[in-house]
Each structure stands twice: as C-alpha cells, then as structure tokens.
C-alpha cells in the first residue's frame, strides 16, 4: 500500500460496515452489521493520523491505546491489535458493538472537527472478532496460586472483568450468578441482533478456561449472604457487581393490565428465554400489532426493535423530551428509524385503558413542551394542559430505567448505600463501607454503560489484589 500523507489520510471517507437491509433484518434476530472485511478495516485504520497527543484516548473511560491498536491494523496485525486493546479493556468484541462511541472515544477524535471521526468502535469490533473467529485467542499467563479466594456476585461486565483480572493474579475466583446464564444485561437485556450471545458465551468460556468457577442459579442474599461467604465459606474478599436490575414503573392507572411489560421482562423473555423462537423455546411472549415503548434510551430502542421483529405493524417510541435529548446510542436510533419505528416525541402517557378481558387497548397521552434545563442538564418536559389524546396499543413496554435490586444490600449489614439504594464505593478502589467488600458497575453508579462497569471491575480487581495480599 502506498504511503499516504496526513492530509490525504484525513480525507479518506469513513468506511461503514456492511449490514443487513432494514426490510430484511426487521424480520429476523440476526446481528444487523456484518462487520468489516480485513480490507475495509485497513482502509479505515489508515484514516487515523496517529496523533502524538491522542484526544480519542481521553474520551475512552478505560484509556484503550487507540492509535497503537489502529497502527497494528494497518500492519495487518489484527490479533496483536486485539491484544493491545485487551491490555486495558477485556471485552473489546462487546464494547466495539455497544459503547456509545459518539460520546466517548470518537467524539474526541480530531478528525471529527472537519471530517468524520475514525470508526474506532468498528475497528475494535473487527480485530477482536478476527482474533476469536480464527482461534487466535491466547490464554494469558496466570500467576502462581496465592491461595486467596475471591467471590464475585453478578456476572455482568463488572463481574466478568474483575474475575478475569483476579484469576490472572493467581487468586481462586468464583462467580455467583442469580440467573441460569452468565452475562448480566449482555445476555438478558441486549438483543441478539445487537450483540450475539455467542460472543458473550465465548468471553465466559475464556474465563472458565483460565480457571474461574461460575455458579449460576445462585442468588446471593438468599442461598448465601455476603457475611456467610466471608466468614463461613472462606472467601478473603467479595466483589458485588449486581447491576441495576429493578424495573421502574410509571405509577399511572392501568399499569398492571395484561400486555403492559417492563422492558426487563419483555427483553428477558425474548433474549434470555428465547421467546422469539416460541414454541421451539418454551417461554411465551405476547405479540402485538400496535406496540408502544416508553422511553428514549438503549433499553427502549432494544425493546421497540424486538417488538418489530416479533411482528408489530406499528412500533412506537413514546418519549417525553425531543430526539436530541434521547440517551440511546446514535446508531441504535438510526437503525430504529431505518426499520420503520415511529417516534412520538414530547409525549407522556397518563393512563392505560383496558378492554373487558383485562388487556391494554389504548393509552392516553399528554403532549409536553420543553422548559428550563433540570439538574441532569436536559430540558425539563412540562405537560401542555388539555392536549390529551389516545393511541391504540395492544402491547406497552415501559423502559424508563431501573433501580438497584436490594437483595444483597438488605442482607448485608454494614453496607452503606445512597438515597437511591446504590452501594457507596470509593471511586478509585471500589472499596465499600464494609471491610473486604468491594462493589462496582451499575450497582454503584446506577444504570450506566458496559465500559464503565468493566472499568470498575478492573479497578476493583487491583484493589482486591492489594487487600487480600496484605491480609494475614
């Protein structure tokens, strides 16, 4: 390949991934993008001008060595590039797919000022898929056994990352997971068409190969408490990564009608329980002609696109602010639009109306207007009096966020929480108010992102290592 000048490189067009056509994909659960070919990846990688002070790295919560891994791509060293990423991010195949890049690494890329930013996420995804698909994944060196035991509660990105780092340091690591499959939101929440479950499985298998024990169907707080793990089961430290899994409802009339779901239930049925494949899988899911999803985040987009794939004729996003305030990843909103999702913005439901069989059939809404920014910095939506109207719906999915599940906190005396029930932990060491107990991910921050949860798992692993090694 001829050497290109910096200016020439900057002017190269941003390469998009090939993907399934909207008309086709809205009828299946297969992943939307096919990913880059090696040639496309190299072309995209050449766009990076290898900044001396790379702004992109500042935008990444775990400081992936972005220019370095991209340079390895230009040299066709794909597996090496993936390993470079893994020095700081152990879940690149996942983060490449689900990070909100447009607010993180890619937002800061200098190319973005005049052109389009380097497609860092797509490249991250490509190299780690390449490494996995070609069986180039190498087991890392594992330190000699320290004889220390660490329990990890929850197998979301926080728990998986902490487990991976701790096993490498020579500790004995056991993950306890409440559900029957490990992965947290990655398996029960995020749909197959956005994150194939085989990828999450291979991450878990990789940990198992390194020696991590995974105990599924173990609800901590019920079968064992944190204190029992520490005092009776001989664990030297515990990491709590139980996520934010308690669904919020709107507390408006009609919310318990048949056909009204929390996003957690709707997505768990479809993803974890494979209800989209009913009756080949046993768990049913209600299908609707007119499906309204309430909310504007990733969870809402995942729900509405799932509803489309289950056969909805009209799939609506009903959101109380305008599109610019939507917290979902730009790519998801774009994909949803392409697939024909209808956006009903500046609108909030006030009640659900049922038919004689107890099924939802209509939703009464009210129009909103935007007022002054609130503490979140987003404009506060204000109802416009008298603007009420009804829409026909047969399924409603409430995707307005989650709180933290109190099972562990309630059964662990001495664990301090804030007023939302999130565990209070030191932002650097993830230490909680209870000795030997560390926490990270959504259970500490409230619903956030995969990479922040993984980053917290990493920090905790470091601190847990120091803690158990200094313990006599």
């Amino acid at each position: 390949m001829p050497e290109l000048s910096k200016v020439e490189r900057m002017k190269l067009p941003r390469q998009s991934m090939l993907e399934q056509k909207p008309e086709e994909r809205k009828h299946n659960f297969k992943e939307v993008p096919f990913g880059y070919t090696p040639e496309l990846a190299i072309q995209e990688a050449q766009r990076c001008i290898q900044c001396k002070i790379p702004k992109c790295v500042e935008g990444c919560p775990v400081e992936v060595q972005i220019p370095q891994f991209i340079e390895l791509i230009t040299e066709r060293k794909f597996a090496e590039a993936s390993r470079k990423i893994k020095e700081t991010n152990s879940l690149p195949a996942i983060c490449g797919r689900v990070c909100p890049q447009e607010e993180q690494c890619e937002e800061r890329c200098v190319l973005g000022k005049k052109f389009k930013p380097v497609a860092i996420g797509n490249l991250e995804r490509f190299v780690s898929d390449y490494e996995r698909d070609n069986n180039l994944t190498e087991l890392p060196e594992i330190a000699p056994s320290t004889g220390k035991k660490v329990a990890i509660i929850g197998s979301g990105p926080a728990g998986l990352t902490a487990a991976g780092d701790l096993i490498r340091l020579g500790h004995s690591v056991t993950i306890f997971e409440a559900l029957h499959k490990p992965g947290g939101v990655l398996v029960y929440g995020i749909p197959e068409f956005r994150l194939p479950k085989s990828i999450v499985n291979s991450e878990v298998e990789y940990l198992k190969k390194m020696g991590v024990k995974v105990m599924t169907s173990h609800v901590i707080g019920k079968i064992d408490t944190v204190d029992e793990l520490l005092n009776e089961e001989g664990y030297d430290a515990v990491f709590i990564g139980t996520g934010a899994g308690l669904p919020n409802f709107m507390r408006i009339p009609g919310e318990n009608l048949n056909g009204v779901y929390s996003a957690n239930e709707f997505l768990t049925r479809s993803n974890l329980m494979k209800a989209y494949d009913f009756p080949n899988a046993d768990t049913p899911i209600a299908k609707g002609k007119n499906v309204a999803v309430l909310g504007g985040g990733n969870t809402a987009m995942d729900s509405v696109r799932t509803a489309l794939r289950l056969g909805a004729e009209n799939a609506y996003i009903v959101y109380r602010r305008s599109q610019v305030e939507m917290p979902a990843r730009a790519a998801e909103i774009h994909h949803a639009e392409q697939e024909g999702v209808q956006f009903i913005l500046l609108t909030n439901p006030v009640r659900f109306i049922g038919n004689k069989d107890g099924w939802v059939e209509k939703m009464e809404c009210i129009r909103m207007e935007l007022g002054e920014p609130d503490e979140s910095g987003r404009c506060r939506p204000i109802p416009i009096e008298g603007s009420n109207f009804e829409i026909d719906v047969d399924i409603v999915v409430i995707a307005i966020g989650n709180r933290s599940n109190p099972l562990v906190v309630q059964t662990t005396p001495g664990l301090k929480t804030n007023r939302w029930g999130n565990i209070i932990a030191d932002p650097e060491t993830m230490e909680t108010s209870k000795r030997g107990v560390f926490a990270g991910g959504d259970i500490v921050t409230g619903g956030a992102t995969v990479i922040l949860a993984a980053g917290a798992g990493k920090k905790a692993a470091r601190a847990i290592h120091d803690f158990v090694m200094s313990k006599k």
Binding site: A178, L179, H180, Y188, T216, S217, H218, V219, K222, I223, D224, G245, L246, P247, F249, R251, E255, N256, N258, G259, Y261, S262, N264, E265, T268, R269, M273, K274, D277, F278, P279, N280, A281, D282, T283, P284, A286, D357, G358, N405, P406, L407
Partner: protein, 284 residues
C-alpha cells in the same frame, strides 16, 4: 444440573418429586419457593417447598401437570437430572406465635401449607388445618398433616372423602361454632383463597394468602409477578409470596394468570404431538 432422587404419581395428575439440593435446603424456610428449569430452552417455573430434609439434603415439591413444562417434568426419571433449581426465593411465611393458627390448603396448596403448619406448631401455636380437594384421590399429605396439626379437617367437593363441601364451608362452620382462629394462612387455587378471605372479612380475622402469579426470575428483576395489595403494586416474588388476603386484588391476579393461555395451549399441543415417555413411577 440437579438430580431427581424420587418421583411418584400421587393421584390423577399430581406428582411428588424429590430433588438433591443440599445447600438450598439448609437455607430454606417454610413459605419460600424455588424456580425450576427442566430442559435447555425450557421455561422457568416456580414451585413451592412442600417438604425438606436438611440431613439428607433433599427438597420435596408436589406439582400438578397442567401444561407443557409440568408435563415435561413428569417424564424425568429418578437418577436423571433437571437443568436448575434456584432458591430459596421469596419471604418465609409468618409462623410466629399467634395463638390459634389455622392453615388452609386447597388442592395442590396442601403441599406448601404443610411445612408452615409444622413450623407454626413448633413455635407454640395451636395449629388447626383444613385441607380440601375436588375428590378423594387428590387428597395427599393426610398423615403428615395430622402429625403437623393439633386438629385436622378434611373436605372434598364431591363428598367422596371427609366433609362434603369447600374449605371455606368448613371454615364458616368452625366460626359459627365459636371456634375463631387468630390467624389464617390459606394456599390454593385463586377462587379458593378468595372465598376464604370473603368468609373471614366480616370477622376481621387476619387472613394471609400465598400468591402464584406468572414469574420468570423470581428475584425482583422483571416485574412479571406484579400483584396489587391495598391499591399498591407489589412484586409477588420478592415482596411475597404471602400477602394480606383482605387487601389483595384477586381479580387482577386471575386476569394476569390468563395472559398466555393461547400460547400455553399451542405449547401443550406441540408437546403432545412429540414422542415422550411419560414416567409414572410407583404410587407412594
């Protein structure tokens, strides 16, 4: 994977299954439940704890075959395995000292009422039991319940065994005779629990029931198990399964239980078309 140690038919479509879950039974308390998954891609089905042997590390569940998953469960032989058994879930029943403590079990609800009766008696209550079913063949745990209770009343809808009538009729008779309990826990089909609550309402006898809404995780994550108690939405799995029956919206519970009837029929039809060897072990 969880090993099935014993499995019996105990009359019509009722089965008793004994599972090896030593750790779980060490922690389990009367009133709690487990969630079973029989096969890969199988449904998660909640089942009450009917008995436990902490020494042997075994858990007994009594279930009725009513749909695909329970029909599939009925094909598993002793020595074989089911995918998972997670628990103990939910809150234990109130078994503290109340005085005259009445347990009422209807149909399959006789199963979970049994460990509650045992514990309530251990805690110094005078325990009365009423158990009832459609017909004689569906009465089980009679000996166990006689042991657990100070007094036991049995009734069947068709009069083939014990008194003829519903458990709520027996309850009304006892109240009329001046034998008023201080506390009642009633478990069984929704119409039965509702009838018991309507019977006790005029007398303000504290009456609790154990709800059986459709569940998935059983840990508070999905909200499938929503019930309304005194107008407030609660999650059956983590806030219950026992609630004050005088405050519970039974009609909502009934309606929500009917949510998937068309799909359940379809699943059962498909199951029956496939080749399965139903395992019907020796009668206990």
């Amino acid at each position: 994977m969880v090993e099935v140690l014993e499995h019996y038919n105990i009359g019509q479509s009722n089965f008793k299954i004994v599972l090896a879950v030593p750790k779980l039974v060490k922690k389990a308390k009367p009133g709690q439940f487990v969630v079973l998954r029989v096969s890969e891609n199988g449904e998660r089905i909640p089942m009450s704890i009917a008995d436990m042997d902490r020494e042997a590390g075994t858990l007994t569940v009594i279930y009725q075959v009513i749909g695909k998953t329970t029909a599939l469960l009925a094909t598993v032989k002793p020595g074989e395995y089911i995918m998972d058994c997670v628990g103990p879930l939910g809150n234990p029943s109130h078994v503290d000292k109340k005085g005259k403590y009445m347990v009422i079990g209807g149909g399959i609800g006789i199963a979970p009422i049994h460990p509650v009766a045992q514990k309530a008696r251990e805690n110094g209550n005078e325990v009365y039991g009423i158990i009832g079913a459609r017909t004689k063949e569906l009465i089980f745990f009679e000996d166990e319940m006689r042991k657990a209770c100070n007094r036991l009343y049995i009734c069947t809808d068709d009069g083939s065994y014990g008194e003829k009538g519903f458990v709520s009729n027996v309850l009304q008779r006892l109240i009329d005779e001046g034998d008023k309990p201080d506390f009642i826990l009633a478990i069984g089909p929704v119409p039965m629990m509702k009838a018991v609550c309507e019977t006790t309402r005029p007398y303000s006898i504290p009456t609790w029931v154990s709800v059986n809404p459709i569940m998935i995780d059983g840990t508070g994550m999905c909200g499938a198990c929503r019930v309304s108690v005194g107008g407030v939405t609660k999650f059956g799995c983590v806030d219950g399964p026992d609630f004050d029956g005088h405050l519970l919206d039974f009609d909502l519970l009934t309606s929500r239980l009917r949510m998937y009837i068309p799909q359940e029929r379809e699943a059962m039809k498909k199951f029956q078309e496939e080749v399965h060897t139903p395992y019907v072990g020796p009668k206990s």
